[in-house]
């Protein structure tokens, strides 16, 4: 029976691990990590921008109404500006953030992570007309859902990427405990894990903390009850003196 043999399907192991990161390698051999943003936050950002634009236009029409034909002329100029240039101007002059994107923590960049320029921004925003087809961004939605880095057609044409903006992280606070020497030489990811264990203490339940530390009790040669304190001491050592 070949079927049960094939069950742990080989291709799932061969595929790279699924992750939401997009790596850009610089000429210096450094990997820049970008986090492409998916449909839900982008749709919300668009809704915010749409509301803002609608409000601007409504207020302008109300204010320009009494001016008769002059008012209509100015209003149509404004309409042109708000419809076609709102996104472009904000994206190019405000580091890739329209107000909606700013609110949702998004940012438009080129595929290689550089700030978005005039040509790319114009292309991706003019092509909204295509994404709109046939109604209500149908093509844009489908393209965004199907693309591994969530690009709509305009993004594909312009070579741009919508990513989550890096937010400054608050400095983590480690529990006050005496530093303890490391009994082994940790590699980079192990250092990170040890530090993260100390930093994320507050979010973990006591039982889970003991369980996690217990995994390393053997190699650290301490009883399971002391493993947690030992790990915290090691993390303090890795962190350096305060």
């Amino acid at each position: 029976m070949p079927a049960p043999l094939a069950k742990p399907s080989a291709d799932t192991f061969r595929q790279p691990l699924l992750d939401t990161r997009h790596l850009v390698e610089t000429p210096e051999g450094i990997d820049l990590v970008l986090h492409p943003a998916g449909l839900v936050p982008r749709a919300l950002a668009f809704a915010v921008d749409l509301t803002i634009r609608g409000t601007i236009l409504l207020l302008a029409f109300l204010a320009l109404g009494p001016f008769g034909e002059l008012g209509m002329g100015l209003a149509s100029l404004l309409f042109f500006l708000v419809t076609w240039w709102y996104m472009v101007l904000f994206e190019v002059l405000n580091q890739g953030c329209t107000p909606g994107k700013q609110l949702l923590g998004l940012q438009v960049v080129h595929d290689d992570g550089t700030p978005v320029g005039w040509a790319a921004s114009l292309t991706r925003n003019l092509l909204r007309v295509v994404d709109l087809l046939p109604f209500g961004y149908t093509l844009g939605i489908l393209s965004c859902l199907a693309h591994p880095t969530f690009k709509r057609l305009g993004d594909l044409a312009a070579g741009t990427l919508v990513i989550y903006r890096e937010r400054p992280q608050p400095r983590p606070s480690l529990p006050e405990i005496d530093a303890q020497p490391l009994p082994f030489a940790p590699q980079a990811d192990e250092r990170r894990a040890l530090l993260a264990f100390a930093e994320r203490q507050a979010g973990l339940s006591a039982g889970r903390r003991r369980e996690l530390a217990g995994i390393l009790a053997g190699p650290l040669r301490v009883p399971e009850e002391q493993a947690e304190a030992r790990l915290l001491g090691i993390a303090r050592e890795l962190m350096g003196p305060p």
């Binding site: 691990l17 699924l18 986090h35 034909e69 209500g136 940790p186 190699p219």
Partner: protein
């Protein structure tokens, strides 16, 4: 479930990213997930259509109401797929009755309109808890804004379904050729369809199911992503995996050595720590001092540039005076404003055109320039050794008469004049592209290409005499004078501006 079997990188993410993760996971197994949704749902819709042939609206409502039940099978598939065991369709369908049984009534009544449905479903189905324990578990996961994003997901999903549905309808409408003669009276669509249009309603229901087939698995996957992220956060799955890896590494060959080293370390009293710490003995090298040093260094020029910029800017805005004019704007003010604006706009257009013209002036000169008809460029110097030049660089108006006058005293001058005149006429009248590098032979070849016998004859004769004179020093024979001048006159007439 073994964490190391996971086909994805499990690490704490933001709630938006957790949804994106769900989309990526669903994308990898899109076909299976769509089938898992469609196999129970589409027959159900067909059945409803058969039960309510007269009222497709009711069929759609019931179908929509039962939507949460259809989300269970895709979730089952996702939870297996995450740890690398892709279930086959048969397994899925066998698991379906068990999946549907759990809390089915609550999820169709009280929880039907819960905006965090997608997040709650995995808690119910995958953790296998019931009653009070389930409530507690839900409370734990929801604490500290644990369900953040789930509500937004549902809100966006609602609009997305609508947009895709209308998009599909619009697409179909666009496919209708205008010759088909189907004209919709949009107002009558509102009133409710006539009997013969019922099939259209049923078709619309089918399209909605098609949209759901795409979106429902993604919706479930996004919710699953949120749930997974919450658990990764609460239980530090990534740390568990990292610690397991570390233990495996340390437990290997190096373990023995480490053990020895560890024992040694444990035995030694740690001399460096027992003595008074060295850094305190030399305060200038202390951490605080170093930090202060660094700060002052960073404040100095190579790291911080201080620039003073002075520029003009608009003064304080004038106080708004249009408080009263809003109600009744004076007509002449509006007129004046409009005229000013119009002038400004035209100025902007003109300035733009000027800037463009200046920017592309070279291009314009090269490709769009036209020589004004009245101006003639001075002809290029005659090829060859041009020792005997005509007296004035500007050719006289009647070349033939002038040459006749010059012939007796200075036949060379006369010949030179005639030859230059010939070149001039070739350029002006026949538009031959002559340039300074052309030899007499080149010019003759070009003339031959014109295929005009008398012109060619004149040019050949003149060139021969000119060459004889210019290079050989032989003056033209006197008997040639009349023939040459006659031929010239016949060819070009008297005046030079023929």
């Amino acid at each position: 479930m073994r964490l190391s079997d996971s086909v994805a990188v499990l690490r704490p993410r933001s709630h938006w990213e957790a949804m994106d993760f769900g989309v990526l996971l669903a994308r990898r197994h899109a076909g299976l997930l769509m089938l898992a949704w469609a196999l129970p749902a589409l027959p159900l819709l067909a059945l409803l259509g058969l039960l309510f042939p007269e009222s497709p609206g009711w069929a759609l409502l019931i179908f929509w109401w039962l939507k949460p039940l259809g989300e269970r099978l895709p979730l089952f598939v996702l939870s297996r797929v995450l740890f690398g065991e892709t279930p086959r369709l048969g397994e899925c369908l066998r698991a379906l009755p068990g999946l549907l049984r759990a809390e089915w009534l609550t999820s169709l009544t009280r929880r039907r309109f819960s905006p965090t449905r997608s997040f709650d479903l995995p808690v119910l189905l995958l953790e296998g808890l019931t009653g009070k324990e389930l409530q507690q578990r839900r409370a734990v996961l929801a604490a500290n804004r644990g369900k953040r994003g789930a509500g937004w997901l549902t809100l966006v999903g609602l609009h997305l379904e609508l947009a895709l549905w209308l998009g599909l309808l619009a697409f179909l409408y666009m496919l209708l050729p205008p010759q088909a003669g189907i004209e919709f009276d949009w107002l009558r669509l509102l009133e409710g369809p006539p009997r013969e249009r019922l099939w259209l309603e049923h078709l619309t229901n089918g399209l909605y199911a098609l949209v759901l087939m795409v979106w429902e698995p993604l919706y479930v996957a996004c919710g699953f992503g949120l749930y997974l992220n919450r658990r990764v956060n609460l239980e530090a799955w990534d740390l568990e995996m990292a610690f397991q890896r570390l233990r495996r590494r340390l437990g290997g060959v190096a373990g023995v050595l480490l053990l020895a080293a560890g024992l040694l370390l444990a035995q030694l009293p740690g001399p460096a720590l027992a003595q008074p710490p060295v850094p305190q003995a030399s305060p200038p090298l202390g951490r605080q001092a170093a930090r202060a040093d660094i700060r002052t260094l960073l404040g100095q020029p190579p790291f911080r540039q201080r620039e003073e910029i002075i520029r003009w800017r608009l003064g304080d805005p004038p106080l708004a005076t249009d408080g009263g004019s809003r109600t009744a704007v004076p007509a002449d003010l509006v007129q004046r404003l409009a005229r000013t604006l119009e002038a400004l706009l035209w100025l902007a257009v003109g300035a733009g055109a000027l800037v463009l013209a200046w920017r592309y002036r070279d291009w314009l000169a090269a490709f769009a320039g036209r020589r004004a008809p009245g101006t003639r460029r001075t002809p290029a110097a005659a090829p060859g050794r041009s020792t005997p030049r005509p007296a004035s660089p500007v050719p006289p108006s009647d070349i033939a008469a002038e040459a006749e006058r010059l012939w007796n005293d200075a036949p060379g001058q006369a010949l030179a004049l005639l030859y230059r005149g010939l070149l001039e006429r070739l350029r002006e009248d026949y538009r031959l592209p002559l340039n300074e590098a052309d030899t007499e032979g080149d010019i003759l070849r070009r003339v031959r290409r014109l295929e005009r016998d008398d012109l060619q004859h004149l040019a050949e004769t003149l060139t021969r005499h000119w060459r004889n004179f210019a290079y050989g020093g032989h003056p033209p024979p006197a008997d040639q004078k009349d023939g040459l001048l006659a031929a010239w006159r016949a060819q070009f007439g008297g005046g030079s501006t023929a």
